[in-house]
């Protein structure tokens, strides 16, 4: 890939090998990996890469170099170094995701920011009369909370309506999801309305499922949806991303989750069109009107260093067998293996089949824990963090009337799941600690109603 040949910035050397140690093998050893993540709290079973991601020391070092360049002579850096560095990052990403043109790739802080950009645009269309009141935005009910609030702030406020599609969960096939989505689109079109925007997660957050995003986008096109926004916060570094194949109008993914960047950086892809795209960064600078990619490259004095290290990340992932593809594959396989180990130990289930998981898996918690609310889930999570040094998010599955739910080996209904993540720094022991923590709670007849206080 051309990206492999890119260098990071100017003359700074990013070779982090200890010059005294000859390179014995091409790939990182286990001890190298531990060293790269030595800043992680060693006592903690950190099985939640999905929430906040991780960043290896080599990339942090590269980031420091960029920060130092700015601090050393900020004017010089601003005039001569910054934009080139950002363009280099964008070019690497553009190659990686198969975009047609690097102009289609902007760098923003995170998916939350991209959502605001898209929804502000939709909001303007309503305000300025291009969309009719009550025209709809369709999304899944488990869309990330920030996105829902953004819809409230920008769309509902100006008269747009929303349709939430319930994601079947636990889920066993893509068809279930596609059918539910079609129904949702139909609702969105009822009474002569137009579906102006469909928001589809590539990988939902909670509960976590790999969605059939290509099929869903196709359905959108068939059903006359005006624009499709794929919120793929977790995608890059988890699953292959080909924006042309996926075919969405907007696609955003965080690089600090699964792509080893420091907080925070996301790429925001906006498919080129014949007409001018009325998307703008909400923080308006003198670059306003020069296209989103240029607008985003300067939103006032900031620390842009996390957006400049993408070439360094490519160097890092190349030190793994199979590069990022190898990492993704092994993360998936290990996560599934650990998931199966856990549901076997607990007598529960996986939330989705292995082919609908990435480096994250949902595993049912024993019914005996009596997770009966979101608060219980939060309590259990806090207990695990404080008393067992296990960091794992817990999801409460509220069953609706008439739903039977899935039963565990004790014939109780499974009302909660944990979402385990597997990244290169994880070890089997991390998941065994989780396993034992839950098993012991059940053995001690603990429930969410009588957990030790944190």
């Amino acid at each position: 890939m051309a990206a492999d040949d890119r260098r990071n910035g100017d003359s700074t050397n990013h070779n982090h090998r200890d010059p005294k140690k000859p390179r014995l093998s091409e790939f990182l050893t286990e001890s190298d990996i531990r060293s790269e993540f030595a800043h992680h709290h060693t006592g903690v079973a950190r099985v939640n890469n999905g929430s906040f991601g991780c960043c290896p020391s080599s990339v942090l070092d590269a980031q420091r170099e960029w920060q130092l360049r700015f601090l050393r002579q900020p004017d010089e850096f601003y005039f001569n170094g910054l934009r080139r560095g950002l363009l280099a990052s964008r070019a690497v990403i553009s190659d990686l995701i198969n975009a047609d043109d690097v102009d289609e790739v902007s760098l923003v802080d995170n998916a939350t920011t991209a959502a605001a950009i898209v929804l502000q645009r939709v909001g303007r269309c309503f305000s300025e009369g291009r969309y009719q009141k009550e025209d709809t935005v369709v999304m899944f009910h488990c869309a990330f909370q920030s996105v829902k609030k953004s819809i409230q702030a920008y769309v509902s406020r100006v008269g747009g309506s929303t349709v939430e599609v319930r994601l079947p969960f636990p889920v066993s096939s893509n068809d279930e999801i596609v059918s539910a989505f079609r129904e949702g689109l139909k609702k969105g079109r009822a009474n002569g309305r137009t579906v102006r925007l469909a928001i589809i997660d590539h990988i939902t957050s909670m509960p976590c499922v790999l969605m059939p995003v290509r099929e869903l986008v196709k359905v959108c096109r068939e059903e006359g949806v005006e624009e499709v926004f794929v919120d793929a916060a977790h995608a890059i570094g988890s699953v292959k991303v080909d924006v042309k194949e996926i075919g969405a109008d907007y696609y955003v993914s965080n690089l600090h989750k699964w792509f080893f960047c420091p907080p925070s950086i996301a790429f925001f892809y906006c498919k080129k069109r014949s007409s001018e795209l009325d998307v703008h960064h909400p923080v308006v600078s003198h670059e306003f009107g020069n296209g989103l990619a240029i607008e985003s490259a300067w939103i006032g004095t900031r620390d842009y260093s996390s957006q400049l290290v993408v070439p360094s990340v490519m160097e890092f992932v190349k030190r793994f067998e199979g590069g990022i593809d190898g990492i993704m594959e092994r993360n998936h396989d290990e996560a599934v293996r650990m998931g199966l180990m856990l549901c076997s130990a607990w007598g529960t289930n996986l939330g989705s089949p292995p082919e609908m998981c990435v480096g994250m898996v949902m595993i049912g918690l024993p019914s005996k824990l009596c997770v009966e609310s979101d608060d219980d889930a939060v309590k259990l999570r806090a207990y695990l963090r404080v008393h067992r040094s296990v960091e794992v998010p817990v999801y409460f599955l509220g069953l609706r009337d008439g739903e039977e739910g899935v039963k565990d080996k004790d014939s109780g209904v499974i009302t909660a799941y944990v979402r385990i993540s597997r990244q290169v720094y994880n070890e089997t022991e991390d998941y065994e600690r989780l396993r034992d923590a839950i098993t012991e709670l059940v053995k001690d007849q603990r429930t969410c109603q009588n957990l030790p206080p944190v």
Partner: protein, 472 residues
């Protein structure tokens, strides 16, 4: 002016106090390294003020080749504060979930509490922390735009701003106000300026224009210290005039405020006031505060951070504490900054005073050598001043000014912004000065740097240099 009391340290901050004080910034520092014991505590007090060599050490990461006399553009950050920032970054990286759930919010609150004290705000709710003044402008202008869109303001109602407002702010006004139906009035200010009265009079005229034909002036957007050309605006008087003239809201853009001029919210009396801490208050990039006066008015319900998160609706200050996963470390070092400035005699007030005296002294030295003039009287500048360039250089356009700046950087290793002042604005001016430089003075600066500038320009003059000879 509110006095600086010692920072209240959270338990977390106290625990890492010694840890932070012992760290020095260096690009070879690795993560998780054991802290070097703080030798000062062994030698022992009483604490004296920071010495010149300690100041040099705090800014040793600055490029030594350069005469860095442009603190105004991008500010500066001492090593101790950078080290404190690193600590915060490391805490997130170490265990991000725990950091998010247990540490982030209380420590942002600590920063906000410190700022509230410094700026004499009534209540912490009035203090939000955002990335920079550019972001603050978007927040304020977005609420103005909503009012236009939702019919609370009539189409054609006016927003009044200074002609010298920052470029990004002008674009933000275009993006939010013009687009939603507001009319923008720009008040021309004189430059060079001779007295605060000149500015006050022009502003009154601008307001009158805004109110013409029965319109209402919905927002006055006023700089506390203009960027280019740089002048300290008589902000208290202008806010008073706004109130007299029935302006709905006053928004003070004080990007250069805190650490540069006196920032007392109650005295100034604006509805919104924003200032960058990374310019003159020793913060790393980037962190700013946006003050929003609590009032019975509508603003409360309509002020939102444009990046909407799950905190939406909980008030701007809380919304701003979480705008998605980000590096919030620059927002967490305010207590460490206070430790730093309190090592100087007189704290931040002493620093401001000495910066002002030094920049005026250096400005007058340059003016004398070049035979030119300052852009304003000394009492209308703070820690920056505009200094006229010799007419013979022939600065005749903005392009000339930019190219001259590049020349100074590339040939003389001097970093200084230049300004083209179109001729003929004044009355009966002959040989009017069309080029100015804006010199800044911060604690790390030394007179030699300004002498280098003096000599460079004199050399150009001696060589018969003309801007017209510059290309690219």
């Amino acid at each position: 002016m509110a006095s600086l009391s010692p920072p209240e340290e959270t338990a977390a901050a106290a625990a890492s106090f010694h840890h932070r004080r012992s760290k020095r910034y260096s690009s070879s520092t690795t993560n998780g390294v054991e802290p070097v014991p703080d030798k000062r505590h062994k030698i022992s007090p009483p604490p004296s003020f920071i010495s010149p060599s300690e100041i040099e050490s705090e800014f040793s990461h600055h490029d030594p080749a350069f005469a860095r006399i442009n603190n105004g553009s991008f500010g500066s950050c001492p090593s101790s504060v950078i080290a404190a920032q690193r600590d915060w970054q490391l805490r997130f990286l170490r265990q991000p979930d725990r950091f998010f759930f247990d540490e982030l919010k209380p420590n942002i609150s600590a920063s906000r509490a410190a700022i509230k004290r410094i700026i004499n705000a009534e209540h912490e709710d009035e203090v939000s922390i955002v990335d920079n003044a550019t972001t603050a402008a978007a927040i304020v202008l977005q609420q103005t735009a909503w009012a236009f869109r939702e019919g609370r303001f009539d189409r054609g109602d006016a927003v009044v701003m200074l002609h010298y407002a920052f470029g990004s702010v002008k674009k933000s006004v275009e993006a939010y106000v013009s687009r939603s139906g507001g009319e923008v009035i720009e008040v021309q200010l004189p430059f060079p300026v001779n007295s605060a009265e000149e500015i006050i009079n022009r502003f009154r005229t601008g307001l009158a224009l805004g109110k013409a034909n029965g319109r209402k002036v919905r927002l006055a957007l006023i700089d506390h210290v203009t960027s280019m050309p740089s002048v300290v605006i008589p902000i208290k008087e202008l806010v008073k005039i706004c109130r007299e003239e029935g302006v709905d809201q006053v928004f003070v853009d004080a990007a250069h405020g805190i650490g540069c001029v006196d920032v007392d919210m109650k005295e100034i009396g604006a509805d919104f006031y924003t200032s960058n801490l990374h310019k003159w208050f020793f913060a790393p990039p980037s962190v700013a505060f946006l003050y929003c006066k609590r009032s019975g008015g509508d603003a409360g319900g309509n002020l939102h951070h444009p990046v909407v998160s799950h905190e939406y609706g909980n008030g701007l200050a809380v919304e701003s504490t979480w705008v998605g996963t980000r590096d919030y470390s620059a927002q967490l070092v305010v207590p460490s900054i206070l430790e730093f400035v309190n090592r100087f005699e007189g704290g931040i007030d002493g620093i401001k005073r000495r910066n002002h005296e030094s920049v005026v002294e250096m400005g007058e030295m340059l003016v004398k050598s070049w035979g030119t003039q300052l852009g304003c009287p000394p009492e209308m500048c703070a820690s920056m001043v505009m200094v006229g360039l010799p007419v013979s250089l022939g600065v005749s356009s903005e392009t000339d000014a930019v190219r001259l700046r590049n020349l100074l950087r590339e040939r003389f290793s001097i970093e200084i912004p230049t300004y083209f002042r179109p001729p003929g604005q004044g009355e009966g001016e002959i040989d009017s000065i069309t080029g100015y430089v804006r010199i800044s003075y911060q604690v790390y600066n030394k007179p030699e740097e300004y002498h280098r500038l003096k000599d460079a320009v004199n050399e150009l003059v001696r060589d018969g240099f003309k801007c017209s000879s510059l290309t690219g």
